[in-house]
Protein backbone atom coordinates (compact mmCIF):
# COMPACT_ATOMS: atom_id res chain seq x y z
CA UNK A 1 0.00 0.00 0.00
CA UNK A 2 1.39 3.37 -1.03
CA UNK A 3 0.83 5.74 1.85
CA UNK A 4 0.06 9.35 0.94
CA UNK A 5 2.75 11.26 2.82
CA UNK A 6 0.80 14.52 3.37
CA UNK A 7 -1.79 12.49 5.30
CA UNK A 8 0.65 12.26 8.22
CA UNK A 9 0.43 16.01 8.62
CA UNK A 10 -3.05 16.60 7.22
CA UNK A 11 -4.99 14.13 9.41
CA UNK A 12 -3.88 15.55 12.79
CA UNK A 13 -4.02 19.13 11.51
CA UNK A 14 -7.59 18.82 10.24
CA UNK A 15 -8.64 17.01 13.42
CA UNK A 16 -7.00 19.73 15.51
CA UNK A 17 -9.15 22.41 13.93
CA UNK A 18 -12.33 20.31 13.96
CA UNK A 19 -12.19 19.44 17.66
CA UNK A 20 -12.78 22.85 19.31
CA UNK A 21 -16.07 23.12 17.39
CA UNK A 22 -17.61 20.43 19.59
CA UNK A 23 -16.99 22.41 22.75
CA UNK A 24 -18.24 21.11 26.07
CA UNK A 25 -21.34 19.29 24.92
CA UNK A 26 -19.75 17.20 22.20
CA UNK A 27 -16.89 16.07 24.40
CA UNK A 28 -17.54 12.38 23.71
CA UNK A 29 -17.55 12.90 19.95
CA UNK A 30 -14.38 14.99 20.15
CA UNK A 31 -12.61 12.30 22.18
CA UNK A 32 -13.73 9.63 19.77
CA UNK A 33 -12.52 11.64 16.75
CA UNK A 34 -9.14 12.32 18.33
CA UNK A 35 -8.66 8.63 19.10
CA UNK A 36 -9.72 7.73 15.59
CA UNK A 37 -7.12 10.14 14.22
CA UNK A 38 -4.25 8.78 16.32
CA UNK A 39 -5.16 5.18 15.53
CA UNK A 40 -5.41 5.86 11.80
CA UNK A 41 -2.00 7.52 12.00
CA UNK A 42 -0.68 4.37 13.66
CA UNK A 43 -2.07 2.26 10.84
CA UNK A 44 -0.52 4.58 8.24
CA UNK A 45 2.84 4.51 10.04
CA UNK A 46 2.85 0.72 10.11
CA UNK A 47 1.90 0.61 6.44
CA UNK A 48 4.71 3.00 5.52
CA UNK A 49 7.49 0.81 6.96
CA UNK A 50 10.07 -0.13 4.39
CA UNK A 51 9.05 2.48 1.85
CA UNK A 52 11.38 5.18 0.60
CA UNK A 53 9.72 7.98 -1.28
CA UNK A 54 9.83 11.68 -2.03
CA UNK A 55 6.61 13.66 -2.24
CA UNK A 56 6.63 17.07 -3.89
CA UNK A 57 4.09 19.36 -2.27
CA UNK A 58 1.83 20.99 -4.86
CA UNK A 59 3.73 19.23 -7.70
CA UNK A 60 6.49 21.85 -7.59
CA UNK A 61 9.66 20.02 -8.53
CA UNK A 62 12.32 19.79 -5.85
CA UNK A 63 14.64 22.79 -5.90
CA UNK A 64 11.67 25.13 -6.26
CA UNK A 65 9.05 23.52 -4.05
CA UNK A 66 8.82 21.88 -0.68
CA UNK A 67 9.29 18.13 -0.48
CA UNK A 68 8.46 15.48 2.06
CA UNK A 69 10.94 12.61 2.31
CA UNK A 70 10.07 9.24 3.73
CA UNK A 71 13.09 7.07 4.47
CA UNK A 72 14.08 4.51 7.08
CA UNK A 73 14.79 7.05 9.79
CA UNK A 74 11.57 8.99 9.19
CA UNK A 75 9.42 5.89 9.29
CA UNK A 76 11.09 4.77 12.54
CA UNK A 77 10.27 8.16 14.06
CA UNK A 78 6.71 8.12 12.68
CA UNK A 79 6.19 4.69 14.19
CA UNK A 80 7.42 5.83 17.61
CA UNK A 81 5.30 8.99 17.52
CA UNK A 82 2.14 7.20 16.49
CA UNK A 83 2.51 4.31 18.96
CA UNK A 84 3.08 6.67 21.87
CA UNK A 85 0.45 9.19 20.81
CA UNK A 86 -2.28 6.59 20.35
CA UNK A 87 -1.53 5.03 23.75
CA UNK A 88 -1.39 8.43 25.41
CA UNK A 89 -4.57 9.61 23.70
CA UNK A 90 -6.34 6.48 24.93
CA UNK A 91 -5.05 7.19 28.43
CA UNK A 92 -6.33 10.77 28.30
CA UNK A 93 -9.93 9.66 27.64
CA UNK A 94 -10.29 9.10 31.34
CA UNK A 95 -7.45 11.09 32.83
CA UNK A 96 -8.37 14.42 31.26
CA UNK A 97 -11.89 14.28 32.69
CA UNK A 98 -10.53 16.16 35.73
CA UNK A 99 -9.75 19.22 33.58
CA UNK A 100 -12.47 21.50 32.23
CA UNK A 101 -11.49 22.27 28.65
CA UNK A 102 -11.00 18.77 27.30
CA UNK A 103 -11.65 19.53 23.64
CA UNK A 104 -9.07 22.33 23.69
CA UNK A 105 -6.60 19.88 25.17
CA UNK A 106 -7.34 17.36 22.41
CA UNK A 107 -6.95 20.05 19.78
CA UNK A 108 -3.54 21.16 21.08
CA UNK A 109 -2.50 17.52 21.34
CA UNK A 110 -3.31 16.88 17.68
CA UNK A 111 -1.49 20.07 16.70
CA UNK A 112 1.60 18.80 18.49
CA UNK A 113 1.35 15.44 16.70
CA UNK A 114 1.00 17.25 13.36
CA UNK A 115 4.12 19.27 14.07
CA UNK A 116 6.14 16.23 15.07
CA UNK A 117 5.07 14.19 12.06
CA UNK A 118 5.98 17.15 9.87
CA UNK A 119 9.44 17.41 11.41
CA UNK A 120 10.01 13.70 10.83
CA UNK A 121 8.98 13.93 7.17
CA UNK A 122 10.18 17.32 6.01
CA UNK A 123 12.97 17.45 3.46
CA UNK A 124 13.09 21.23 3.41
CA UNK A 125 15.01 23.01 6.10
CA UNK A 126 12.71 26.01 6.50
CA UNK A 127 9.68 23.75 6.50
CA UNK A 128 11.35 21.77 9.27
CA UNK A 129 11.58 25.01 11.27
CA UNK A 130 7.87 25.74 10.70
CA UNK A 131 6.76 22.30 11.85
CA UNK A 132 9.13 22.52 14.80
CA UNK A 133 7.50 25.77 15.84
CA UNK A 134 4.00 24.28 15.49
CA UNK A 135 4.92 21.41 17.79
CA UNK A 136 6.76 23.68 20.24
CA UNK A 137 3.97 26.26 20.48
CA UNK A 138 1.42 23.53 21.16
CA UNK A 139 3.68 22.07 23.83
CA UNK A 140 4.22 25.45 25.55
CA UNK A 141 0.47 25.84 25.83
CA UNK A 142 0.02 22.26 27.04
CA UNK A 143 2.65 22.63 29.77
CA UNK A 144 0.70 25.57 31.17
CA UNK A 145 -2.62 23.80 30.69
CA UNK A 146 -3.50 23.63 34.37
CA UNK A 147 -3.08 27.43 34.77
CA UNK A 148 -1.86 27.11 38.36
CA UNK A 149 1.20 28.81 39.86
CA UNK A 150 3.74 26.12 39.05
CA UNK A 151 2.37 25.35 35.61
CA UNK A 152 2.49 28.97 34.47
CA UNK A 153 5.99 29.46 35.82
CA UNK A 154 7.24 26.29 34.14
CA UNK A 155 5.48 27.18 30.91
CA UNK A 156 7.09 30.63 30.83
CA UNK A 157 10.53 29.22 31.51
CA UNK A 158 10.09 26.55 28.84
CA UNK A 159 8.73 29.10 26.42
CA UNK A 160 11.61 31.56 26.83
CA UNK A 161 14.29 28.90 26.35
CA UNK A 162 12.34 27.18 23.60
CA UNK A 163 11.85 30.45 21.71
CA UNK A 164 15.53 31.27 21.97
CA UNK A 165 16.29 27.83 20.57
CA UNK A 166 13.84 28.35 17.71
CA UNK A 167 15.33 31.75 16.87
CA UNK A 168 18.81 30.24 16.77
CA UNK A 169 17.52 27.62 14.36
CA UNK A 170 15.88 30.28 12.17
CA UNK A 171 19.12 32.29 12.16
CA UNK A 172 21.02 29.17 11.13
CA UNK A 173 18.50 28.52 8.34
CA UNK A 174 19.02 32.08 7.08
CA UNK A 175 22.80 31.64 7.14
CA UNK A 176 22.54 28.35 5.28
CA UNK A 177 20.32 29.93 2.65
CA UNK A 178 22.70 32.86 2.26
CA UNK A 179 25.68 30.56 1.77
CA UNK A 180 24.22 27.84 -0.41
CA UNK A 181 21.26 29.51 -2.13
CA UNK A 182 18.90 26.65 -1.39
CA UNK A 183 16.49 25.54 1.30
CA UNK A 184 16.14 21.95 0.20
CA UNK A 185 18.22 19.67 2.40
CA UNK A 186 19.44 17.55 -0.51
CA UNK A 187 20.55 20.59 -2.52
CA UNK A 188 22.16 22.24 0.50
CA UNK A 189 24.07 19.05 1.14
CA UNK A 190 25.27 18.94 -2.48
CA UNK A 191 26.33 22.59 -2.38
CA UNK A 192 28.28 21.98 0.83
CA UNK A 193 29.99 18.95 -0.68
CA UNK A 194 31.05 21.02 -3.68
CA UNK A 195 32.26 24.09 -1.85
CA UNK A 196 33.23 22.80 1.59
CA UNK A 197 32.42 24.45 4.90
CA UNK A 198 33.14 28.16 5.03
CA UNK A 199 32.97 30.26 8.18
CA UNK A 200 29.29 31.17 7.73
CA UNK A 201 28.25 27.54 7.42
CA UNK A 202 30.35 26.54 10.42
CA UNK A 203 28.63 29.25 12.43
CA UNK A 204 25.26 27.99 11.16
CA UNK A 205 26.18 24.45 12.25
CA UNK A 206 27.05 25.65 15.75
CA UNK A 207 23.75 27.56 15.92
CA UNK A 208 21.93 24.38 14.88
CA UNK A 209 23.67 22.42 17.64
CA UNK A 210 22.66 25.00 20.26
CA UNK A 211 19.10 25.32 18.94
CA UNK A 212 18.39 21.61 18.68
CA UNK A 213 20.34 21.05 21.89
CA UNK A 214 17.90 23.39 23.64
CA UNK A 215 14.99 21.44 22.18
CA UNK A 216 16.52 18.10 23.15
CA UNK A 217 17.53 19.32 26.65
CA UNK A 218 21.13 18.15 26.42
CA UNK A 219 22.95 19.04 29.59
CA UNK A 220 24.23 22.56 29.24
CA UNK A 221 20.81 23.46 27.80
CA UNK A 222 18.61 21.35 30.05
CA UNK A 223 17.39 23.91 32.62
CA UNK A 224 13.78 24.02 31.38
CA UNK A 225 13.06 20.29 31.22
CA UNK A 226 12.86 19.33 34.90
CA UNK A 227 10.36 22.15 35.44
CA UNK A 228 8.31 21.83 32.28
CA UNK A 229 7.81 18.07 32.05
CA UNK A 230 6.52 17.49 35.60
CA UNK A 231 4.19 20.51 35.46
CA UNK A 232 2.29 19.32 32.40
CA UNK A 233 -0.67 16.92 32.77
CA UNK A 234 0.67 13.34 32.93
CA UNK A 235 -0.27 12.31 29.36
CA UNK A 236 1.48 15.41 28.07
CA UNK A 237 4.57 14.68 30.17
CA UNK A 238 4.56 11.29 28.50
CA UNK A 239 4.39 12.86 25.05
CA UNK A 240 7.02 15.50 25.83
CA UNK A 241 9.55 13.15 27.38
CA UNK A 242 8.69 10.22 25.18
CA UNK A 243 8.72 11.68 21.70
CA UNK A 244 8.82 15.48 21.57
CA UNK A 245 12.40 16.00 22.75
CA UNK A 246 13.52 13.13 20.55
CA UNK A 247 11.83 14.30 17.39
CA UNK A 248 12.50 18.01 17.74
CA UNK A 249 15.92 17.64 19.28
CA UNK A 250 17.69 14.39 18.58
CA UNK A 251 16.18 13.50 15.21
CA UNK A 252 16.48 17.01 13.78
CA UNK A 253 20.05 17.33 15.05
CA UNK A 254 21.04 13.96 13.61
CA UNK A 255 19.41 14.77 10.28
CA UNK A 256 21.13 18.14 9.96
CA UNK A 257 24.53 16.99 11.19
CA UNK A 258 24.71 13.71 9.29
CA UNK A 259 22.69 14.22 6.12
CA UNK A 260 23.05 17.94 5.42
CA UNK A 261 26.44 19.05 6.72
CA UNK A 262 28.20 15.70 6.83
CA UNK A 263 29.81 14.34 9.97
CA UNK A 264 33.34 15.42 10.89
CA UNK A 265 35.70 14.32 13.68
CA UNK A 266 35.18 17.39 15.93
CA UNK A 267 31.42 17.09 15.48
CA UNK A 268 31.54 13.39 16.44
CA UNK A 269 33.50 14.25 19.59
CA UNK A 270 31.10 17.08 20.40
CA UNK A 271 28.13 14.71 20.21
CA UNK A 272 29.90 12.09 22.33
CA UNK A 273 30.80 14.65 25.01
CA UNK A 274 27.29 16.15 25.05
CA UNK A 275 25.85 12.63 25.33
CA UNK A 276 28.17 11.57 28.16
CA UNK A 277 27.68 14.78 30.15
CA UNK A 278 23.88 14.50 29.77
CA UNK A 279 23.92 10.85 30.82
CA UNK A 280 25.99 11.35 33.95
CA UNK A 281 24.57 14.69 35.10
CA UNK A 282 20.97 13.64 34.42
CA UNK A 283 21.39 10.43 36.38
CA UNK A 284 23.08 12.10 39.38
CA UNK A 285 20.47 14.86 39.55
CA UNK A 286 17.64 12.33 39.28
CA UNK A 287 18.75 10.22 42.24
CA UNK A 288 18.33 13.13 44.65
CA UNK A 289 14.77 13.99 43.65
CA UNK A 290 11.75 13.33 45.86
CA UNK A 291 9.13 14.43 43.37
CA UNK A 292 8.10 11.40 41.30
CA UNK A 293 7.65 13.20 37.99
CA UNK A 294 10.71 15.39 38.49
CA UNK A 295 12.83 12.29 39.01
CA UNK A 296 11.51 10.85 35.76
CA UNK A 297 12.17 14.13 33.95
CA UNK A 298 15.82 14.14 35.02
CA UNK A 299 16.16 10.55 33.94
CA UNK A 300 14.86 11.61 30.49
CA UNK A 301 17.88 13.88 30.16
CA UNK A 302 20.08 10.94 31.02
CA UNK A 303 18.37 8.64 28.53
CA UNK A 304 18.55 11.16 25.68
CA UNK A 305 22.27 11.28 26.41
CA UNK A 306 22.49 7.58 25.51
CA UNK A 307 20.89 8.22 22.12
CA UNK A 308 23.21 11.15 21.33
CA UNK A 309 26.18 9.11 22.52
CA UNK A 310 25.35 6.20 20.23
CA UNK A 311 24.84 8.46 17.23
CA UNK A 312 27.98 10.47 17.97
CA UNK A 313 30.09 7.34 18.43
CA UNK A 314 28.97 6.04 15.06
CA UNK A 315 29.62 9.42 13.49
CA UNK A 316 33.13 9.59 14.90
CA UNK A 317 33.96 6.15 13.53
CA UNK A 318 32.65 7.17 10.09
CA UNK A 319 34.55 10.46 10.14
CA UNK A 320 37.78 8.60 10.95
CA UNK A 321 37.10 6.22 8.03
CA UNK A 322 36.86 3.37 10.52
CA UNK A 323 34.95 0.13 10.21
CA UNK A 324 31.46 0.90 8.85
CA UNK A 325 29.99 -2.17 10.53
CA UNK A 326 31.00 -0.83 13.95
CA UNK A 327 29.65 2.60 13.10
CA UNK A 328 26.31 1.24 12.00
CA UNK A 329 26.13 -0.91 15.14
CA UNK A 330 26.65 2.17 17.34
CA UNK A 331 24.05 4.19 15.43
CA UNK A 332 21.63 1.28 15.48
CA UNK A 333 22.07 1.04 19.24
CA UNK A 334 21.39 4.76 19.60
CA UNK A 335 18.26 4.70 17.45
CA UNK A 336 16.97 1.53 19.10
CA UNK A 337 17.43 3.21 22.44
CA UNK A 338 15.46 6.20 21.12
CA UNK A 339 12.48 3.98 20.29
CA UNK A 340 12.76 2.09 23.58
CA UNK A 341 12.99 5.31 25.54
CA UNK A 342 9.86 6.67 23.93
CA UNK A 343 7.94 3.56 24.98
CA UNK A 344 9.14 3.07 28.55
CA UNK A 345 9.41 6.72 29.48
CA UNK A 346 5.88 7.44 28.31
CA UNK A 347 4.73 4.39 30.28
CA UNK A 348 6.53 5.67 33.39
CA UNK A 349 4.87 9.06 33.10
CA UNK A 350 1.47 7.43 32.58
CA UNK A 351 1.95 5.37 35.74
CA UNK A 352 2.96 8.53 37.60
CA UNK A 353 -0.27 10.10 36.34
CA UNK A 354 -2.24 7.13 37.58
CA UNK A 355 -0.56 7.38 40.99
CA UNK A 356 -1.19 11.11 41.12
CA UNK A 357 -4.84 10.70 40.20
CA UNK A 358 -5.38 8.11 42.93
CA UNK A 359 -3.35 9.65 45.73
CA UNK A 360 -3.39 13.33 44.79
CA UNK A 361 0.32 13.75 45.40
CA UNK A 362 3.60 13.42 43.54
CA UNK A 363 5.88 13.44 46.57
CA UNK A 364 7.52 10.08 47.16
CA UNK A 365 7.75 10.75 50.91
CA UNK A 366 3.96 11.00 51.20
CA UNK A 367 3.38 7.66 49.47
CA UNK A 368 4.09 4.08 50.41
CA UNK A 369 2.50 0.68 50.23
CA UNK A 370 0.60 1.44 47.06
CA UNK A 371 1.34 -2.05 45.73
CA UNK A 372 -1.80 -3.58 47.22
CA UNK A 373 -4.06 -0.66 46.31
CA UNK A 374 -2.81 -0.09 42.75
CA UNK A 375 -1.71 -3.55 41.56
CA UNK A 376 -1.78 -2.86 37.82
CA UNK A 377 -0.03 0.49 38.10
CA UNK A 378 2.58 -1.16 40.25
CA UNK A 379 3.12 -4.00 37.79
CA UNK A 380 3.41 -1.76 34.74
CA UNK A 381 5.68 0.65 36.60
CA UNK A 382 7.94 -2.25 37.57
CA UNK A 383 8.12 -3.42 33.97
CA UNK A 384 9.03 0.07 32.79
CA UNK A 385 11.58 0.52 35.58
CA UNK A 386 13.22 -2.80 34.77
CA UNK A 387 13.25 -1.78 31.15
CA UNK A 388 14.85 1.63 31.69
CA UNK A 389 17.42 0.17 34.08
CA UNK A 390 18.39 -2.52 31.58
CA UNK A 391 17.27 -5.74 33.29
CA UNK A 392 17.75 -8.53 30.71
CA UNK A 393 14.52 -9.64 29.08
CA UNK A 394 13.15 -6.09 28.79
CA UNK A 395 13.73 -3.67 25.94
CA UNK A 396 16.22 -1.26 27.53
CA UNK A 397 18.70 -4.06 28.09
CA UNK A 398 19.09 -4.83 24.40
CA UNK A 399 19.77 -1.27 23.29
CA UNK A 400 22.25 -0.69 26.10
CA UNK A 401 23.92 -4.01 25.28
CA UNK A 402 24.39 -2.92 21.67
CA UNK A 403 25.82 0.42 22.76
CA UNK A 404 28.29 -1.32 25.07
CA UNK A 405 29.30 -3.80 22.36
CA UNK A 406 29.79 -0.97 19.86
CA UNK A 407 31.88 1.04 22.31
CA UNK A 408 34.08 -1.95 23.13
CA UNK A 409 34.55 -2.86 19.48
CA UNK A 410 35.66 0.66 18.69
CA UNK A 411 38.11 0.52 21.65
CA UNK A 412 36.27 3.16 23.66
CA UNK A 413 36.47 1.11 26.86
CA UNK A 414 35.90 4.11 29.14
CA UNK A 415 32.69 4.96 27.27
CA UNK A 416 31.45 1.41 27.80
CA UNK A 417 32.31 1.70 31.49
CA UNK A 418 30.33 4.95 31.79
CA UNK A 419 27.33 3.40 30.01
CA UNK A 420 27.27 0.55 32.52
CA UNK A 421 27.80 2.94 35.45
CA UNK A 422 24.93 5.23 34.43
CA UNK A 423 22.78 2.17 33.94
CA UNK A 424 23.49 1.27 37.56
CA UNK A 425 22.52 4.79 38.68
CA UNK A 426 19.27 4.42 36.73
CA UNK A 427 18.60 1.15 38.52
CA UNK A 428 19.14 2.87 41.88
CA UNK A 429 16.75 5.73 41.12
CA UNK A 430 13.97 3.42 40.02
CA UNK A 431 14.51 1.13 42.98
CA UNK A 432 13.97 4.25 45.03
CA UNK A 433 10.64 4.82 43.26
CA UNK A 434 9.62 1.22 43.89
CA UNK A 435 10.70 1.34 47.50
CA UNK A 436 9.03 4.61 48.50
CA UNK A 437 5.92 4.54 46.32
CA UNK A 438 4.86 0.94 46.17
CA UNK A 439 6.42 -0.86 49.15
CA UNK A 440 6.47 -0.07 52.82
CA UNK A 441 3.65 1.23 55.03
CA UNK A 442 0.46 2.64 53.57
CA UNK A 443 -0.10 6.14 55.08
CA UNK A 444 -3.36 6.74 56.97
CA UNK A 445 -4.83 9.21 54.51
CA UNK A 446 -4.38 6.86 51.54
CA UNK A 447 -6.37 3.90 52.94
CA UNK A 448 -9.39 4.63 50.75
CA UNK A 449 -7.76 5.00 47.33
CA UNK A 450 -8.79 2.83 44.41
CA UNK A 451 -7.14 1.63 41.23
CA UNK A 452 -8.02 3.63 38.12
CA UNK A 453 -10.09 1.76 35.62
CA UNK A 454 -10.91 1.67 31.93
CA UNK A 455 -8.83 3.41 29.33
CA UNK A 456 -6.01 4.35 31.68
CA UNK A 457 -5.31 0.73 32.55
CA UNK A 458 -5.60 -0.41 28.95
CA UNK A 459 -3.06 2.17 27.76
CA UNK A 460 -0.59 1.26 30.49
CA UNK A 461 -0.90 -2.47 29.90
CA UNK A 462 -0.47 -1.95 26.15
CA UNK A 463 2.77 -0.03 26.64
CA UNK A 464 4.00 -2.54 29.22
CA UNK A 465 3.48 -5.36 26.72
CA UNK A 466 5.47 -3.38 24.19
CA UNK A 467 8.28 -2.96 26.75
CA UNK A 468 8.50 -6.72 27.07
CA UNK A 469 8.25 -7.40 23.35
CA UNK A 470 10.50 -4.64 21.99
CA UNK A 471 13.53 -6.89 22.30
CA UNK A 472 12.09 -8.84 19.38
CA UNK A 473 12.70 -5.81 17.18
CA UNK A 474 16.38 -6.60 17.51
CA UNK A 475 16.35 -10.37 17.92
CA UNK A 476 14.09 -11.28 15.01
CA UNK A 477 16.20 -10.74 11.88
CA UNK A 478 13.22 -9.85 9.68
CA UNK A 479 12.07 -7.07 12.00
CA UNK A 480 15.59 -5.80 12.43
CA UNK A 481 16.21 -5.66 8.70
CA UNK A 482 12.81 -4.07 8.15
CA UNK A 483 12.76 -1.35 10.78
CA UNK A 484 16.04 -0.67 12.56
CA UNK A 485 18.69 -1.26 9.91
CA UNK A 486 17.21 1.06 7.25
CA UNK A 487 17.04 3.80 9.88
CA UNK A 488 20.67 3.34 10.88
CA UNK A 489 21.68 3.14 7.22
CA UNK A 490 20.26 6.62 6.55
CA UNK A 491 22.68 8.11 9.07
CA UNK A 492 25.60 5.87 8.07
CA UNK A 493 25.20 6.90 4.42
CA UNK A 494 25.53 10.51 5.52
CA UNK A 495 25.72 13.04 2.72
CA UNK A 496 24.87 10.55 -0.02
CA UNK A 497 21.34 11.31 1.22
CA UNK A 498 21.32 14.18 -1.29
CA UNK A 499 22.07 11.88 -4.22
CA UNK A 500 19.34 9.49 -3.05
CA UNK A 501 16.70 12.22 -2.76
CA UNK A 502 17.58 13.99 -6.00
CA UNK A 503 17.73 10.67 -7.80
CA UNK A 504 14.23 9.64 -6.75
Amino acid sequence: MIVPLPAFVAIPLVTAFLLPIFGKKGKTIATFLANLATISLLVLAIASIGQTRVYEVGRWSIPLGINLVLDGLSSLLLLAISVVSSAVMFFSIRYMEQYTAKSKYLSLFMLMVAGMNGVALSGDIFNLFVFLEIASLASYALVGFGCEHEELEASFKYMVLGSIGSIFILFAVALVYGNTGSLNMAYISRAIQNSGLNIGLTFALSLFVVGFGLKAALVPFHAWLPDAHPSAPAPISAMLSGVLIETLGVYALARVVFNVFGISIPMGWLLIVLGLVSMVAGAFLAIGQWDLKRLMAYSSISQVGYVILGIGLGGLIIARNGNVAWASLAILGGLFHLVNHSVYKSLLFLTSGSVQMSTGTRQLKEMGGLAEKLPVTRATCTVASASIAGIPPFSGFWSKLILVIAAVQAHFYWVAAIIVFVSLCTLIMYLKVQRYAFLGELPENLQEIKENRGSMLAAMVFLACLCVLMGLLLLVPALRAGILEPAAKVLVDGVSYSANVIGM
Binding site: F126, V130, H149, E150, F156, I164, V173, A174
Partner: protein
Protein backbone atom coordinates in the same frame (compact mmCIF):
# COMPACT_ATOMS: atom_id res chain seq x y z
CA UNK B 1 28.72 46.59 7.94
CA UNK B 2 24.96 46.19 7.84
CA UNK B 3 25.33 42.53 8.76
CA UNK B 4 27.41 43.53 11.78
CA UNK B 5 24.71 45.92 12.94
CA UNK B 6 22.10 43.22 12.44
CA UNK B 7 24.16 40.79 14.49
CA UNK B 8 24.57 43.48 17.15
CA UNK B 9 20.78 43.80 17.31
CA UNK B 10 20.55 40.02 17.73
CA UNK B 11 23.04 40.11 20.59
CA UNK B 12 21.17 43.01 22.26
CA UNK B 13 18.01 40.92 22.15
CA UNK B 14 19.81 37.89 23.56
CA UNK B 15 21.34 40.03 26.33
CA UNK B 16 17.94 41.46 27.17
CA UNK B 17 16.31 38.01 27.28
CA UNK B 18 19.03 36.53 29.47
CA UNK B 19 19.79 39.35 31.91
CA UNK B 20 16.51 41.19 32.55
CA UNK B 21 14.42 40.33 35.60
CA UNK B 22 11.07 41.56 34.32
CA UNK B 23 9.00 39.02 32.39
CA UNK B 24 7.74 41.58 29.89
CA UNK B 25 11.27 42.77 29.20
CA UNK B 26 12.34 39.18 28.55
CA UNK B 27 9.53 38.87 26.02
CA UNK B 28 10.66 42.13 24.40
CA UNK B 29 14.22 40.79 24.22
CA UNK B 30 13.05 37.63 22.48
CA UNK B 31 11.10 39.69 19.99
CA UNK B 32 14.17 41.86 19.28
CA UNK B 33 16.07 38.67 18.45
CA UNK B 34 13.25 37.56 16.20
CA UNK B 35 13.24 40.87 14.33
CA UNK B 36 17.02 40.83 13.98
CA UNK B 37 16.77 37.45 12.26
CA UNK B 38 13.93 38.71 10.05
CA UNK B 39 16.04 41.72 9.11
CA UNK B 40 18.94 39.43 8.31
CA UNK B 41 16.74 37.33 6.02
CA UNK B 42 15.51 40.42 4.18
CA UNK B 43 19.06 41.68 3.75
CA UNK B 44 20.08 38.38 2.18
CA UNK B 45 17.74 39.07 -0.72
CA UNK B 46 18.47 42.78 -0.95
CA UNK B 47 20.24 44.26 -3.93
CA UNK B 48 21.13 47.93 -4.30
CA UNK B 49 18.96 49.47 -6.99
CA UNK B 50 17.07 46.20 -7.47
CA UNK B 51 13.58 45.94 -8.91
CA UNK B 52 10.55 44.09 -7.58
CA UNK B 53 10.69 40.42 -8.50
CA UNK B 54 7.60 40.54 -10.73
CA UNK B 55 7.96 39.53 -14.36
CA UNK B 56 6.30 42.16 -16.55
CA UNK B 57 5.27 41.96 -20.16
CA UNK B 58 8.22 42.02 -22.51
CA UNK B 59 10.59 40.40 -20.05
CA UNK B 60 9.24 36.92 -20.70
CA UNK B 61 9.96 35.38 -24.08
CA UNK B 62 6.67 33.63 -24.74
CA UNK B 63 8.07 31.20 -27.32
CA UNK B 64 10.88 29.70 -25.30
CA UNK B 65 9.53 30.48 -21.84
CA UNK B 66 12.85 32.09 -20.95
CA UNK B 67 13.04 35.13 -18.69
CA UNK B 68 15.15 38.04 -19.95
CA UNK B 69 18.64 38.15 -18.46
CA UNK B 70 18.20 41.81 -17.50
CA UNK B 71 15.37 40.88 -15.17
CA UNK B 72 17.40 38.19 -13.42
CA UNK B 73 20.31 40.57 -12.96
CA UNK B 74 18.25 43.37 -11.47
CA UNK B 75 15.45 41.84 -9.39
CA UNK B 76 15.78 41.17 -5.68
CA UNK B 77 15.49 37.63 -4.32
CA UNK B 78 11.81 37.00 -3.48
CA UNK B 79 12.31 33.84 -1.44
CA UNK B 80 13.59 35.47 1.80
CA UNK B 81 10.55 37.74 1.73
CA UNK B 82 8.27 34.72 1.69
CA UNK B 83 10.29 33.21 4.54
CA UNK B 84 10.06 36.42 6.57
CA UNK B 85 6.29 36.53 6.13
CA UNK B 86 6.04 33.01 7.54
CA UNK B 87 8.46 33.80 10.35
CA UNK B 88 6.49 36.92 11.30
CA UNK B 89 3.27 34.94 11.53
CA UNK B 90 4.94 32.33 13.73
CA UNK B 91 6.51 34.96 15.98
CA UNK B 92 3.13 36.69 16.30
CA UNK B 93 1.64 33.41 17.52
CA UNK B 94 4.37 32.85 20.04
CA UNK B 95 4.24 36.50 21.16
CA UNK B 96 0.51 36.22 21.83
CA UNK B 97 1.01 33.03 23.86
CA UNK B 98 3.93 34.52 25.80
CA UNK B 99 2.05 37.68 26.69
CA UNK B 100 -1.02 35.73 27.78
CA UNK B 101 1.13 33.53 30.01
CA UNK B 102 2.72 36.69 31.45
CA UNK B 103 -0.71 38.11 32.26
CA UNK B 104 -1.92 34.87 33.86
CA UNK B 105 1.28 34.71 35.91
CA UNK B 106 0.75 38.29 37.05
CA UNK B 107 -2.76 37.41 38.17
CA UNK B 108 -1.43 34.51 40.23
CA UNK B 109 1.75 35.99 41.71
CA UNK B 110 1.03 39.73 41.58
CA UNK B 111 4.46 40.52 40.16
CA UNK B 112 6.43 40.40 36.93
CA UNK B 113 9.76 39.94 38.73
CA UNK B 114 11.14 36.50 37.94
CA UNK B 115 13.31 36.48 41.06
CA UNK B 116 10.10 36.38 43.11
CA UNK B 117 8.41 33.74 40.94
CA UNK B 118 10.33 30.77 42.21
CA UNK B 119 8.18 27.91 43.31
CA UNK B 120 10.02 25.31 41.25
CA UNK B 121 13.37 24.22 42.59
CA UNK B 122 15.81 21.36 42.48
Amino acid sequence: MLYTLCFLLFMIGLYCAVVKKNMVKIVIGIMIMEYAVNLFLIMLGFRTGGTAPIVSRGQLDTETGQIAAGFLNSSVDPLPQALVLTAIVISLGSLALMISICIRTYEKYGTFDITQIRRLKG
